[in-house]
Symmetry: C2
Subunit: 342 residues, 2 copies
Amino acid sequence: MSATAVASASHPASGPSIDDLLRLASADMKAVDAFIRARMESPVAVIPALADHLIAAGGKRLRPLLTVAAARLAREGRGAGETAHKLAASVEFIHTATLLHDDVVDSSRLRRGKVAAHLIWGAPSSVLVGDFLFARAFELMVETGSMRALKILAGASRVIAEGEVLQLTRAHDIRLAQETYLEIILAKTAELFAAAAESGGVAAGGSEPQIAALRSYGLNLGLAFQLADDALDYAGSSEALGKNIGDDFREGKATLPLLLAVARAGEAETAFWERALGGTEQAEGDFRRARELVASTGALRDTLDLAADYARAAKTALGAFTPGEWRAALGALADFAVGRAA
Amino acid sequence: MSATAVASASHPASGPSIDDLLRLASADMKAVDAFIRARMESPVAVIPALADHLIAAGGKRLRPLLTVAAARLAREGRGAGETAHKLAASVEFIHTATLLHDDVVDSSRLRRGKVAAHLIWGAPSSVLVGDFLFARAFELMVETGSMRALKILAGASRVIAEGEVLQLTRAHDIRLAQETYLEIILAKTAELFAAAAESGGVAAGGSEPQIAALRSYGLNLGLAFQLADDALDYAGSSEALGKNIGDDFREGKATLPLLLAVARAGEAETAFWERALGGTEQAEGDFRRARELVASTGALRDTLDLAADYARAAKTALGAFTPGEWRAALGALADFAVGRAA
């Protein structure tokens, strides 16, 4: 396959894309990046080095993008403003801090396509640099003078931590109720998407119905993204996911594709799941069999259907705004959340 | 020895004491405790369980005590007020979060006289509950509506993290410059003492010179406490310290008593320090020899003298306030910081 064919296969022209959104927000995101760069500095050299490892890897910067886009939407396209840029940088710092702590907690090996920071600098540095970024986020928020944004993002930070602890204590229960799984992803993922969009609305001085709509959009988008991510772990490529596929399975993490497949298993499959996820060594070929079962039981399809439902709900929330290029781009983002995994 | 003799030996009537301060602040500290109790709650049961393990152990609650006392001092004894109580609870949450993360980073076994939380609930839970408490601290601060207090405590949280990382990367250098050691304890300990006192002054609506004096008092007190703690690790009892004595030595942590003793070592002693702190197994009796050298080289005395200098500077800062029982009690606290180790 030629390089061109590879590129077009991974970005089909017809599929949903965030290209419009990235183009519209490029000047804003440059301003956000400048705050991120400036505020991850420290006289203690390991701090910017470690932070840069993760931040330079980039990821999609979805969460700060949400803050900026929400501010633009609430202002009908007029400039997002410095408050929105600072809040967007804060959101990215909070997110990066949780990634650093998560990777220590899960002993993950790969993050954003790069070796996880704790494997290079050690878990202690990852914990402490996470704390640094978290504190920096609050310093940046203080600069905006917006007590309401501080309230939103402090609350979100607390909810994320609760979600992570809940996941930690329940994550290996392969008979976890679907509601508990949703409660976990609501807290550990969707809450920050919601807070990112909501705080953008606050920065822009949006009306209360607009701010509520932005929160709803973010929350539903976050659920769609997490469900699609969890599906990708069984159906995607490591490249698309930015981390090793099969990690959730190898860690015995009870995500929805797994939970549904286990619930629908016959006797032989149940024995397989219990052995493979029972905490002892997994055998060669276990992940291949897990992928097959997740697909053949319809668990994968149902997970993606649920993701699509949330993506639709996100788009519905955008109805609170007059049509325009920002609204269209945010609608496309909701499609993209699910489309990349379809 | 009779029980009475034991009691009087550990609390000599003539020695410096924080009893007056604890008595004066008892109603305030009850209000602070109520906020701490209420805000460590979470539907995720492991969070309050783990937090309570550390918070019930209590320690001296010096930092929230500082916030309350600072507010009282700035108001000439009149009620500290709910803002001061909430900020005091926030300060304790920030401190508890850093303890949880520190114990993971240092693999400590004992904290406040109890088994360290990460040995019971695991390091991942300690990391995440630390994050929860940190976020809760900011939620409480938001409730006070004081942007200035948020700025002070967000800044302090960032400085603490920087100090911890600096300590992590330099802590095993037994030829560390004394200035770098002071830079570390300034950031990791004194900054929160300073912020605790300063935010109490802000809560009370103190004048700018008063707020600056409170910050200076807290900063110098924090340095005195940390220096005395570092001395106690070579000279005290595990009971007085609330953690195992000799831990710093066993971890090869470059505290001032060690640094001074190493700098003053002859050839034989240098060989001892290099072997004992070189990263290989320590021998039976190494800590006893280290204690002897720290004492015989005058390293212990000089560390305590420096602590006494900072305690004096703390008391000098109190000169910005009219004499009274609160000022006297805070003066006694500065004496106590050093006196318990003398």
